[in-house]
């Protein structure tokens, strides 16, 4: 049994009965939609047409939201319906990043992720979804794709059908008869919707959107020839807490990795104060990392479920375990170092130090780069799915670790060789970071339209000041210059500030690219 939708655009008249029937059936609050009608207009007078595309969850065969959900609140049932669970959801919004279709929203009443659930509460009892029943044209068909006698199976076999974004690998099970490319590919009309036909533009992102420099669909040179005329808004899921967490995690992991490297490769003597300082930085910034992560949740009181009710395919879970293992190990070791400092014990057990350094190093490395894999699961943000990303995060950690140590040195004198290592780490990190940005993220052509659009927003659009001013100048050129003239701690501060600006642009820009 495998449920799916077929929506026949040749029958659909864009009347919105499905929109209100769904609101009614599922008591969906104002401002969020489980299903909606997108209007696009194509053509030049007098050859113009308006297209209606009913958007909702596609109940994908390979649902990325299920894979990324840390607590199995999003699940795929045996009958093919992808459902949510408001009692389990912690509100991390990873599912909203994983979904390439804008199908998921945060319910303002429960602060949990919800979406079209195929009216499973009806379907389980043999009754069609509310949108299917109300439609004056019977344009929406819901049924079992595995049953050859079912209406949906017969209709799909009869017509030319299209789906939204098949290249994402989600195998969406919402099929459109007579779909129009201008409506199926959201970036086609990005920025071509400066006014809607009977409503306010529903989100800041849509208001600020600029048309792509390279058109995705060329149908003529009329300025108003391809337009979105009505659509619904979707709130940006992640905000400053995520770039902040990336910076603090980079500092924590980088600082520790430098110490572990110094220890393992005998690059420096590490005295007690140095080790305590490193431990403080690591634990402190790991704690901040945790705070930012929890703060970003819509249901922060449920955060512990990531550890206690894990869905292990999610990199959010794997990352949480990695971070907690890393933090636990460092805490033990740091505790011992503190005990030595306060004279409670004579020395840290050698085995503990060795285990911490040799095991902590890969844990720190993993903590530094795992977010790349989490981003890799975000099918809704192609820009984040860069193979360069783990290396870039590692580079940033090295740079951030070096910077943090240089600043720490102002308060606690570090072992000179270690300080030198930190200096080199910052310098090498800065240069490598700039290279990765120019030659990697922005030098190479991005594989998809949404990735290109995000990149454009960073280099030329809404985030260009964050990028050029923040990341490149403040975060790259300035600290390099400052290091040359010997103002390393200032360079370090600038590097960290610049890192935040870069991550901010990196995290925010792709979320502003339309997915519906």
């Amino acid at each position: 049994m495998n449920y799916g939708f077929l929506i026949n655009n040749s029958k659909c008249i864009g009347c919105h009965a499905c929109s209100t029937a769904c609101k009614s059936e599922n008591q969906v609050p104002l401002g969020v939609f489980r299903t909606w009608v997108k209007y696009t207009e194509v053509g030049r007078y007098p050859d113009v047409r308006r297209n209606f595309q009913v958007n909702r969850c596609n109940h994908c065969m390979n649902p990325p939201c299920v894979e990324i959900c840390p607590v199995a609140a999003m699940t795929q049932r045996d009958d093919g319906i992808v459902g949510y669970n408001a009692d389990l959801c912690i509100g991390c919004k990873s599912c909203m990043q994983a979904c390439p279709y804008n199908s998921i929203y945060i319910d303002p009443e429960t602060n949990t992720a919800q979406k079209c659930h195929f009216c499973a509460h009806r379907v389980d009892n043999g009754i069609e979804p509310a949108c299917v029943v109300v439609c004056p044209q019977h344009a929406i068909v819901a049924g079992d794709l595995d049953d050859p006698a079912s209406e949906i199976s017969r209709e799909i076999s009869k017509h030319n059908v299209t789906v939204r974004k098949p290249e994402q690998g989600t195998a969406p099970k919402c099929f459109y008869v007579d779909g129009h490319q201008a409506a199926l590919t959201p970036t086609v009309t990005e920025g071509h919707s400066k006014s809607f036909l009977w409503g306010d533009i529903p989100s800041e992102e849509m208001k600020q959107a600029e048309p792509s420099c390279e058109p995705l669909l060329y149908m003529g040179d009329g300025e108003h020839m391809v337009q979105t005329r009505a659509n619904v808004g979707h709130k940006v899921p992640w905000h400053w807490q995520v770039p902040a967490y990336l910076v603090t995690k980079g500092i924590a992991s980088g600082t520790f990795m430098l110490m572990a490297m110094a220890f393992i490769y005998h690059l420096a003597d590490l005295g007690g104060p140095t080790k305590v300082a490193v431990g403080l930085i690591t634990m402190g910034f790991l704690a901040l990392t945790g705070v930012f992560l929890i703060l970003d949740l819509e249901r922060p009181e449920r955060f512990i479920r990531v550890m206690l009710r894990p869905q292990f395919k999610s990199w959010l879970v794997r990352g949480a375990y990695i971070i907690n293992a890393f933090a636990g190990l460092v805490a033990l070791w740091w505790g011992a170092e503190l005990a030595v400092l306060f004279g409670m014990i004579d020395q840290v057990p050698v085995g503990l130090t060795h285990v911490t350094m040799y095991l902590g190093f890969p844990l720190a490395l993993a903590a530094s780069v795992y977010t790349a894999f989490l981003f890799g699961q975000a099918e809704g943000r192609d820009f984040w799915q860069s193979p360069l990303l783990p290396f870039h995060f590692l580079t940033q950690s090295v740079m951030a670790g070096g910077a943090a140590l240089l600043i720490a040195n102002l308060f606690v004198p570090l072992d000179p060789d270690f300080l030198g290592l930190a200096s080199h780490a910052l310098a090498i990190g800065l240069v490598t970071n700039l290279m990765m940005i120019f030659l990697g993220e922005f030098g190479m052509s991005h594989p998809t339209d949404t990735a290109r659009s995000a990149a454009h927003k960073i280099t030329h659009g809404e985030y260009k000041v964050h990028f050029w001013g923040g990341a490149i100048v403040v975060g790259g050129l300035l600290p390099i210059g400052l290091m040359i003239v010997g103002l390393a701690p200032v360079a370090a501060l600038a590097a960290l500030a610049g890192l935040y600006f870069y991550e901010h642009a990196f995290v925010m820009a792709p979320q502003k690219v339309p997915n519906s």
Binding site: E41, N51, C119, E151
Partner: protein, 957 residues
């Protein structure tokens, strides 16, 4: 569980019950589908899973009560899910048994729930405290309101028979109030029809004696629309279903509209004609059929009054009908004939319509000619399955717009698509209005404020001119009811309405019967809340397709309570607060209006079972269902229940499916001879389809362009719009699929989708005047101007700007009762002498109420009330308001202009009105027989023959 507040005064909770939802999984449908609806045998006790609790399993229990939607006139069936324990209404779905809507609804159907649970509902009768429009109210009891109003009605009735006026916007029912008015014995019925469909009705009526088409879309081969029935209009949902069915089966849709409506977009052929040129296009198509012999000659010969036409051609109308050399020559030849045969008529049509070439049509419509030719070919090949429809659109836009209907039906007549499968039926053939227990006699009075002498042929009352008539001194009103009607906002020239509503001499008592706050009710003396869809009793029958059915609207909570054995005397016991229903209200007020029965009024609402009191709803409807609906008693008996119980159970009944068109019926007497057989014929004096209208000729409209289907020069013809000077046409009244006039503003789900009305502008015009998307534009009409935002689209004809008319709601108070802040701007109304202004003080936005959703309103632009700037333009024949305004200037807004600004000079609007009065041909000068209106012409509540005398002192003479 008993809620601490009343029904619809807080967020409804639904009772959790034990047990499992009803299982429909065991029902196997042959095509593998799931079930769509709860089966009727479960309607009294339906258990289903709670959607919000999911995936937790939680069961709720409802009693399902059928009712009828109250939003538009389609009368679609709804099924209300009423919580069995606390009687809260969970939702409205479709009624699968309803023959018209077949279980499906438009967006407004489910949104009915918003109307019930509107936190800004008027819950109690209110009486004005302070001056009219001050916005101060006190709650009164129904008793007090009834007594006061009834007393004033009694006083008026004692003095005269034209002092009470019932002014209806949305009827939503078929006979009830008209019967009550007849009981009063006064000429009280005023409507909105002449801002709605009067012109099209006039055109259809002149042909056939019925005034609305009932197209059989489902079986049509070609559908030709001058309407937007895939998104609005009577009867949107049921019509849209069948139009698409036809298209899916291979039928072709043609739409004539200068704007790319959703309907035009779905059409196979979009004809964006210059507004007003539609009759020329239709006549070019007709001409194509006539010249090439591609029309149904047998049908035309049998059913059209061609003999009368030719007789008039050589006789009484010889001068007017022969106005070209070719026609004069033909006339000379025909004058010599002793008798006529059909071939003569064929020639006559060829000579008469020969001037309507495709070239001419393309020139006048400024449209690609190939589209006109394609339309003509499609019509020619329609095989008698041509379904056409003009509801408002061009017919209600232009001076002479009634000719759009006349020329459109001409195509049906030529192709024999009248009463055929896939053709057009008369509305009365697909409608059934049962007889009540007794009927008051016809009235004896004629109200000069409703159907004055200047417009003897007006189709329905001259409603939108009421303030102009009052201003001129044509009369005064003692008791004025506005009923589900917001005249100040929706009619043209709203500031004239403001003047009239504020005048306590001209309108001595204003009672607003309304479910919602509106701009006009703000100026009433009483606001009486009347129920919405599931809160009232009404009987409806609409021509949705080739069938006769009745739909019963009933108060669902009342029915649910009665199912549970509770006794309910008055519907306000079951509705929110003390919201009542009109059927009971009218009985009560009519009863009290005639306390001792001496006026002869109260007898008509008296109970038979319990004399001495007003008839109850149960008794009233039981009588009708037992006596007046053929087939219903038998159906009910088969189930062992009474006919009333049957209607309460199913909500609808099909009286007849696919009734045969009545005009072909053989009759023994009366009727008309058709090819040797006596048949019933049509409702015209000749009983034939009147190609030539003797009535028009006799009543002063003797020119050819009025007597025949012809083109009339619109007031916005190219000759009157100087595009070089920047003049344009304002198309101000297109509608949206999600809203219904001004009654859906309290529907949060609908307003979230559609809340403002930007000005549609073609990119060429936008470039010319220098505006981009969202820029402010000032539109100047002949009496004022408004400022709106530009919506630049390729989907509108250059030279035309369009603005939708149900958006732009406003209120005067920032806090306190009124339309919700998410749906209306707060405005200031200003007045300097005869100049009026409206300025937005505060845009729409979220507000606090018991509904958390009102705080989630995310939009702020709630539109511009452009109707205020529309000059009133009564067509001299049909009396319909010609909606299209001549936009004297459309330009970038001035620096001092703000969004939503409105300015009107009522001196200009009165002068404009006088100019259009000057176009009329009054019965005083033009009546052929001393009556003021043709006796055969329909009108609501036709009075007795004596009342038809031309008034002794006609106004203005």
């Amino acid at each position: 569980m008993k809620p601490d507040k009343g029904h619809a005064e807080q967020r409804p909770q639904f009772t959790v019950v034990g047990g499992e939802p009803v299982q429909m999984t065991q029902v196997k449908h042959p095509d593998g589908r799931m079930s769509s609806y709860p089966p009727p045998e479960h309607w009294h006790d339906w258990k289903e899973a709670d959607a919000k609790a999911w995936p937790k399993k939680q069961t709720n229990q409802y009693t399902l009560v059928p009712t009828i939607c109250f939003n538009c006139e389609s009368a679609c069936g709804l099924l209300a899910y009423v919580d069995k324990e606390n009687y809260e209404i969970r939702k409205f779905e479709g009624n699968p048994l309803h023959p018209g809507s077949r279980g499906r609804n438009c967006a407004k159907g489910p949104a009915t729930h918003n109307q019930i649970y509107d936190p800004e509902r008027i819950l109690y009768p209110l009486k004005r405290v302070g001056a009219r429009g001050e916005g101060k109210w006190k709650r009164v009891s129904w008793d007090e309101a009834l007594n006061d109003i009834a007393q004033k009605m009694n006083q008026s009735r004692q003095k005269r028979l034209d002092g009470i006026m019932y002014h209806v916007g949305r009827p939503g029912e078929d006979h009830y109030i008209n019967r009550v008015i007849k009981a009063w014995g006064t000429d009280s019925h005023n409507s909105h029809t002449n801002i709605c469909s009067a012109a099209a009705r006039s055109g259809y009526f002149q042909w056939s004696g019925w005034d609305r088409p009932s197209p059989d879309y489902a079986n049509a081969k070609v559908i030709l629309l001058i309407s937007s029935h895939l998104e609005t209009g009577h009867y949107f949902n049921p019509h849209a279903q069948r139009i698409i069915e036809a298209q899916q089966a291979g039928g072709k849709i043609i739409t004539i509209d200068p704007r790319l409506s959703n309907t035009a977009s779905k059409s196979d052929l979009w004809m964006p004609a210059w507004p007003g040129s539609e009759p020329t296009i239709l006549l070019a198509i007709a001409n194509y059929l006539i010249q090439n012999g591609l029309y149904n000659k047998k049908f035309v010969e049998d059913w059209v009054n061609w003999e009368d036409t030719l007789k008039a051609f050589v006789g009484v109308a010889s001068k007017e009908l022969a106005d070209t050399d070719a026609l004069k020559a033909l006339q000379t030849e025909f004058k010599a004939k002793k008798s006529f045969e059909f071939a003569d008529f064929d020639r006559y049509m060829k000579v008469t319509y020969g001037e309507f070439t495709f070239e001419r049509a393309a020139l006048e419509s400024e449209m690609p000619m190939d589209r006109i030719i394609e339309a003509a070919k499609l019509v020619a090949e329609s095989d008698g399955r041509l379904a056409t429809h003009v509801w408002r659109a061009a017919s209600m836009a232009h001076l002479g717009g009634w000719q759009v209907a006349r020329t459109l039906l001409f195509l049906n007549v030529l192709t024999g698509s009248v009463g055929s499968k896939g053709g057009v039926n008369g509305n009365s053939w697909n409608k059934f209005v049962p007889e009540p227990y007794k009927n008051p006699p016809h009235g004896t009075a004629w109200n000069e404020l409703q159907m004055p002498h200047d417009w003897p042929l007006s189709f329905y009352e001259m409603s939108f001119l009421l303030p102009h008539f009052l201003e001129e001194g044509r009369g005064e009103i003692d008791v004025y009811f506005t009923r589900v009607y917001n005249p100040m906002w929706i009619n043209p020239d709203g500031f004239m309405w403001l003047k009239a509503l504020k005048d306590e001499q001209k309108m001595k008592l204003h009672v607003a019967l309304t479910p919602t706050w509106n701009e006009s009710a703000w100026f009433a003396d009483y606001i009486l809340p009347m129920g919405h869809s599931g809160e009232r009793h009404d009987l409806m029958s609409q021509e949705t397709h080739n069938s006769k059915w009745i739909g019963f609207r009933q108060p669902v909570r009342r029915v649910a309570m009665e199912r549970a054995g509770k006794k309910v005397k008055y519907t306000y016991e079951a509705n929110p607060g003390e919201v009542w229903e009109e059927a009971e209200f009218w009985n009560e007020v009519t009863w009290r209006m005639d306390p001792d029965g001496s006026l002869g009024v109260r007898q008509w609402v008296e109970s038979i079972e319990n004399p001495g009191q007003p008839i109850s709803q149960d008794e009233y409807w039981a009588y009708i269902f037992e006596h007046s609906v053929p087939g219903l008693p038998e159906k009910a008996k088969a189930e062992g229940i009474t006919p009333l119980a049957y209607m309460r159970k199913y909500g609808c009944f099909e009286v007849m499916n696919e009734p045969a068109p009545p005009y072909v019926k053989e009759v023994k007497e009366g009727g008309v001879d058709v090819a040797g057989v006596r048949r019933a014929g049509f409702g015209t004096p000749s009983k034939k389809l009147e190609f030539y209208s003797p009535t028009m000729h006799e009543w002063g409209w003797s020119e050819k362009e009025y007597c025949l289907p012809w083109q009339l020069e619109s007031h916005v013809h190219q000759n009157h719009i100087d595009r070089k000077k920047g003049e344009m046409i304002l198309l101000p009244n297109f509608r949206l699929p999600t809203l219904i006039h001004t009654r859906s503003a309290n529907c949060k789900w609908l307003y979230e989708i559609s809340h403002n009305n930007p000005l549609w502008l073609n990119p060429l015009d936008a470039k010319r005047i220098g505006v981009g998307p969202g820029d402010l534009v000032r539109v100047e009409t002949e009496i004022g101007y408004f400022v709106d935002k530009a919506f630049i689209t390729e989907g509108i004809k250059p030279g035309v700007v369009a603005c939708s008319h149900h958006l732009g709601r406003w209120k005067l108070n920032e806090t306190g009762p009124g339309i919700g802040s998410g749906m209306a701007s707060v405005v200031d109304l200003g007045q300097h002498g005869e100049e009026y202004t409206l300025k937005i003080k505060k845009m729409g936005g979220p507000w606090k109420s018991w509904d958390p959703d009102t705080s989630r309103v995310w939009w702020e632009d709630v539109g511009v009330n452009q109707n205020l700037t529309h000059a009133a333009q009564p067509d001299p024949v049909s009396g319909a308001h010609c909606w299209h305004q001549k936009a004297m200037m459309v330009k970038k807004a001035e620096p001092t202009d703000s969004y939503g600004d409105v300015w009107v000079d009522t001196q200009k609007s009165m002068a404009h009105y006088q100019k259009w009065v000057g176009y009329t041909r009054s019965c005083v000068e033009n009546s052929p027989d001393g009556t003021r209106r043709p006796m055969w012409y329909n009108r609501p509540l036709k009075p007795v023959k004596e009342a038809y005398k031309i008034p002794g002192k006609p106004f203005g003479r």
